[in-house]
Every structure is written in C-alpha cells, then in structure tokens.
C-alpha cells in the first residue's frame, strides 16, 4: 500500500501541468496576445478620445481579462479527460478538491498571471496613471485566480460535451459578474478619487469564497463527468 501525502500529490499535479506548459510555450504567448489585441479593438471601435478611453478603460480591461480566462478554460481539464489522466487523478487517495486547486493554480500561472503582469502597460494605453495602475494590477491579481476557480466549475460540468466552448461561457458568465463589478469598480473608484479599498476587500471576499467552495463543486462535477 502506497499513498502520497497531500502536499506530494499537490506538487505532482502542479509539476505535471507546468511541465506540459513548458512543452507548449505558445499557450502563454496566446493569452498575452489575445488580451493585447482585444484591448486594442476598443479604441478602434470607440474612438481615441482620451477622456472616453479613461472612462471605459477599467471595464474594457477587466472584460478582456475575463474573456481571456473564459477562452482558456478548455485547456483546464479536457486534455486530461481525453487521455485518461483525469481518471487517474480522481483515483489518487487524496481529496480531489485540493488537487483541483493545484490544477487551477497551474492554469492560472499559464493564462492569468501573464495578463496581470501585462496590465500596467495596457492601463497606460487607456490613459490610466499612477495609483489606478496599481489598483488595476492588484484587482486583476485578486480577480483572475477567482475567475479561474469559478471557471473550473463550468469546465468540469461541460467536460467532453459538444459545443462546450459556448456552453461554458453561458454557464460561467453569470458567476463572473460579481468579480467583474468589484474588480472594475475598484479601478473606477480609484480614478474618481473615492478610494478603492471597499471594492478591493469585496474582491478579496470573492476570492476567499471561491477558494472555499469552487474546488469542491468542481471535484463533484468532475466525478459526475467521469462516470
């Protein structure tokens, strides 16, 4: 009888996904370029007036980060499901919810963290400055892992279904709305000089809440999909 400890199993899961990402370095680049391109579409659609861009900037950047997360959810579980690695993961004698946190963490490092690191540059494109750039980065730092965790539930529920790309979006976007409101709200209030603490703490609360519940819901959904 052999059993890995919880931290060994967690490290193993994260290590595997990061190792795979190293073999597919283009995945990281894809997230970055997607965000850059989409963020550039808005000024092209709306006009380059600085005042307008500063007003829509927080929302646009947040929606872009949200869409990037949404589009990358297909990579979270599908490959593992198709090659049998997911059922092996479900058979590991440790809590599947904790292993899900590991997978989501690795996924965030690949798709979410680059967006966070890039955000100050994008913020400058929209005329955000100083404090609000910091708030933007912080809000995305708190928000993108939350979005990945919540998105994991949708990815698990739609595993292997046809048309799952659109379906995941439909299932997960209502769950993303509070994070979007508090995240973009933090930057907007910073720009308005009101102070972003309230929004940021609500964002932090969303993060804690999703950390407590989303992995467990995802694990339940994964076991349902594996039956």
């Amino acid at each position: 009888m052999s059993q890995p400890s919880l931290s060994e199993a967690l490290r193993g899961v994260v290590r595997r996904d990061l190792l795979l990402a190293m073999r597919h370095r283009s995945d990281v680049a894809m997230s970055i370029f997607f965000v850059v391109i989409v963020a550039s579409l808005f000024p092209l659609g709306v006009g380059p007036e600085a005042a307008v861009l500063r007003m829509i900037g927080p929302g646009v950047l947040w929606v872009t980060a949200l869409l990037a997360c949404l589009l990358s959810l297909g990579r979270l579980f599908t490959a593992d499901y198709l090659d049998g690695v997911l059922e092996q993961t479900a058979l590991i004698p440790q809590s599947l919810a904790v292993l899900v946190i590991g997978k989501v963490f690795a996924h965030w490092v690949i798709s979410g963290l680059p967006v966070v690191l890039l955000s100050p540059l994008l913020g400058l494109q929209f005329g955000l400055g100083g404090d609000s750039l910091g708030v933007l980065t912080l809000s995305l730092l708190l928000g993108t892992p939350t979005l990945s965790m919540i998105g994991g539930i949708g990815a698990a529920l739609t595993l292997g279904l046809r048309g799952s790309g659109l379906l995941v979006a439909l299932l997960v976007l209502p769950l993303f709305v509070p994070v979007l409101i508090f995240g973009a709200g933090a930057v907007t209030s910073s720009l308005a000089g009101i102070g972003s603490e309230a929004n940021l703490s609500l964002l932090g609360a969303c993060f804690m809440l999703s950390l407590a519940f989303a992995p467990w819901a995802t694990a339940v959904a994964l076991r349902i999909a594996l039956e």
Binding site: L157, G163, S164, L171, P174, L175, I181, A221, I224
Partner: protein, 249 residues
C-alpha cells in the same frame, strides 16, 4: 386517517395523482389571476405620480418574486436529488426550470413595459432588472446544460450541481448589482413602488397566489411528460397518450 405519501414517490403512482390535481390548480390559477388583474387594472386607484401606466407592476412584481422563489425551489429539489440519489427529485427540478425561466422573462418584459412610459427608455440598468436578467441567464444555462448531455444520469446530476452553484450566486449577484448601481450614481433609477394603498396590496397578493397555482399546474403537467419520456421501457407506460395510462390503471 394518515395518507401514505410515499406511495406517490414512484412515478407510476404519481402520474394519475398529478393528473387529478392539475385541473384544480388550473382553475384556481385562472380565478386568482382574473381577480388580481381586475383589482389591479380597475379597482386600484390611479397613481399620483405615474398615472395608469404603473399598473403593469401587478404582473411585474409577482413575476419577479416567482422567478426567484422557483429558482430556490428548483435548487432544493436538485440538492435533494444529489443528496438522496433520488431520480424523482431530479425530475421535479427539470420540470420547474422552464416555468421559472418564463416568469423571469415575463418580469423583464413587464419591466421594460413599465420603463418606457415612466423613464422614457425600454431598458434601464436598474439593480432589480439587471439581477433578473442574470437570473434568466442562469435558468437558460441549466436548461441548455441538460439539453447538451445525452446520458440521463449525468444530465440530472450536472444540472443539479449548476442549480446549487447558481442559487449561491443569486444573493451575491443582487448585492453586487445594487453596489454597482450606487457606484454609478447617474444610472440609479429604482423601480420602488410608491406608498401602497390596500387594493394595490390585495391585487399583488392575489396575483402571487394565481402565479403559484399556475406554477403548480404547469409543473405537474410537465412532470407527467418527463415521467412518460423517461419510463419508456416499462410496459405500464407503453401507451399512446396520457389518457390511456390513466384508463389502463
């Protein structure tokens, strides 16, 4: 005289029972709705600020309340299904979802009909209307998820998980959208009713009752269709119509 309720938890026994109950609920629904609409449209006094256009709230507010109640009821059945591994619970959740979605849509439609004469716009980003819109997305998500999964057991359990996740989201959405409304002062319009005269309250409550009766009737009817659809193998359901099933008993 104790009624053995458990005997009705088998689909075979439930079918004729539901069949007998549906006409009663339908009549009660029709009666309540007619009375409610009469009081709302003709008896309640004209509003001091909004004139007669406010009368649509007698449909809008009960519909909005129903959409939320039904979501919670559906989530309870979903939770029971997952906890007890009981197929009838999943079937109930399946039967409720479309009616809930309908009420949400009705609330949005009547909300727009109210908005036009009152605020001059077909849509306003009011906290309640926006929350209703997101609730509609959640209902549609549950219905579409079930439709996308061919395996019945997986469809039942996956849509149950989604319903439970969604029910946690409903209060969070409401809070966050209200917060968002206060953040953006300019857009804060609220559709709160002005002081309610007694006939108005009466009309609202009667409409609520009517909508509940309607929901019971329609959900039971849909349950029968769900049962017949699922139990296609057993010989007792191999008939061409619901009448035959009841007759053949």
């Amino acid at each position: 005289m104790a009624i053995n309720w458990f005997k009705y938890s088998s689909p075979q026994a439930f079918l004729p029972l539901a069949g007998r109950m549906i006409p009663w609920f339908s009549v009660a629904a029709l009666a309540s709705i007619c009375v409610g609409l009469y009081i709302g449209f003709f008896v309640a006094p004209t509003d001091f600020q909004q004139g007669d256009s406010y009368r649509i709230i007698f449909v809008h507010v009960p519909a909005a309340w129903m959409s939320m109640f039904l979501y919670v009821v559906m989530a309870i059945w979903a939770g029971l299904g997952l906890g007890l591994n009981a197929r009838p619970s999943f079937m109930m959740a399946q039967a409720i979802a479309p009616t809930g979605a309908m009420f949400t849509f009705l609330a949005l439609l009547t909300g727009a009909m109210w908005g036009k004469p009152t605020w001059g716009a077909w849509w306003v980003w009011d906290a309640r209307l926006t929350s209703e819109l997101i609730l509609l997305f959640q209902y549609v998500g549950i219905i579409l998820l079930r439709a996308s999964i061919d395996d019945l057991r997986r469809a039942d359990r996956a849509s149950a998980v989604l319903a439970l996740v969604g029910v946690v989201n409903v209060p969070i959405i409401y809070f966050s959208v209200k917060w968002w409304n206060t953040l953006h002062q300019g857009a804060s319009v609220t559709m709160t009713e002005s002081k309610m005269a007694t006939p108005m309250v009466a009309a609202m409550l009667i409409m609520m009752l009517g909508f509940w009766m309607y929901s019971f009737a329609v959900t039971l009817a849909r349950m029968r269709c769900v049962i017949l659809d699922r139990e296609r193998q057993p010989s007792w359901s191999k008939h061409s119509s619901i009448h035959d099933v009841v007759e053949a008993r």
